[in-house]
């Protein structure tokens, strides 16, 4: 259940994020079947996107080669990017963070 706790935190704070005008989206190298399973188990209502070939993950320079403990496939490192309406990065963070902190940053947009 790697990282699901962070996504759950985002879910709990989703209405605060949306009140600040911010949408949430999550990206991993999972298949969309795995994403659907995670959505269902963790009751996530924001989109989980499947970057199976890790192309987007590479373009953000977040690739962890052979990072999956289960089958040592390439995965993404944990990171958060807050983009403004023009698509520019306004805040970023590597590793897990508290969703409340992201909400604080979202309010500054």
């Amino acid at each position: 259940m790697a990282c699901a706790s962070e996504l759950r935190g985002i879910q709990r704070n989703l209405s605060s994020l949306e009140a600040a005008g911010v949408k949430a989206v999550a990206i991993s190298a999972d298949t969309n079947d795995e994403s659907r399973e995670l959505c269902r188990k963790a009751n996530l209502t924001f989109p989980l996107l499947s970057d199976r070939k890790a192309e987007v993950i590479r373009s953000y320079d977040l690739l962890v080669p052979n990072g999956s403990p289960a089958d040592s496939r390439d995965i993404s490192g944990i990171a958060e990017f807050l983009l403004d309406a023009s698509g520019k990065v306004r805040w970023r963070h590597f590793g897990e963070t508290k969703a409340e902190r992201v909400v604080d940053e979202a309010k500054k947009l």
Binding site: C3, G21, S28, D30, E34, V64, G67, L83, D84, S86
Partner: protein, 152 residues
């Protein structure tokens, strides 16, 4: 009567090594580059500790009987070992991300499938309004993109 002196170098070296570890842990999530300043602090700590130990052996009558030297040095070495372990863990979970988009830069676009197999692009996310649970719509001021390790 000789008054014993306080070997401040040892304490400063010990303090610096704690500071180096704390600085690394505090800032590593903002920038991986904090590794180098932390390493420099450890080097400075090592210099202070070595000079403190030398002083102790050169003028034993002033500093004799104090176990602070070996104790602080051992603790500092342990803290340095802990630093190495933390760095290893950070790099294992997370690469350096040197070329990750910086603050102020335009984030790379994407077009990916969601859990239902439907395509979604960053451009769509940025341009379409937010619809909340009550069916109201509001302008999108930004998008939070979270990268996660995956579900297994």
């Amino acid at each position: 009567m000789i008054t014993k002196r306080w070997n401040w170098r040892l304490w400063a070296g010990f303090g610096l090594s704690i500071g180096a570890l704390a600085a690394y842990v505090f800032w590593v999530n903002e920038t991986r580059a904090v590794f180098w300043p932390a390493l420099l602090l450890f080097l400075a700590a090592a210099v202070l500790l070595v000079s403190g130990l030398k002083r102790r052996s050169r003028e034993p009558e002033l500093y004799r009987g104090k176990i602070a030297g070996p104790v602080l040095t051992t603790l500092s070495v342990l803290i340095f070992g802990l630093f190495g372990f933390v760095v290893y863990q950070v790099l294992r979970v997370f690469p350096e991300a040197k070329n990750a988009p910086q603050i102020g830069q335009r984030a790379p676009g994407f077009s990916l499938v969601d859990a239902n197999g439907e395509n979604l692009t960053l451009a769509q996310l940025l341009s379409s309004p937010i619809t909340d649970s009550r069916g109201g719509a509001r302008a999108t001021k930004g998008v939070l993109v979270v990268f996660y390790r995956g579900y297994w």
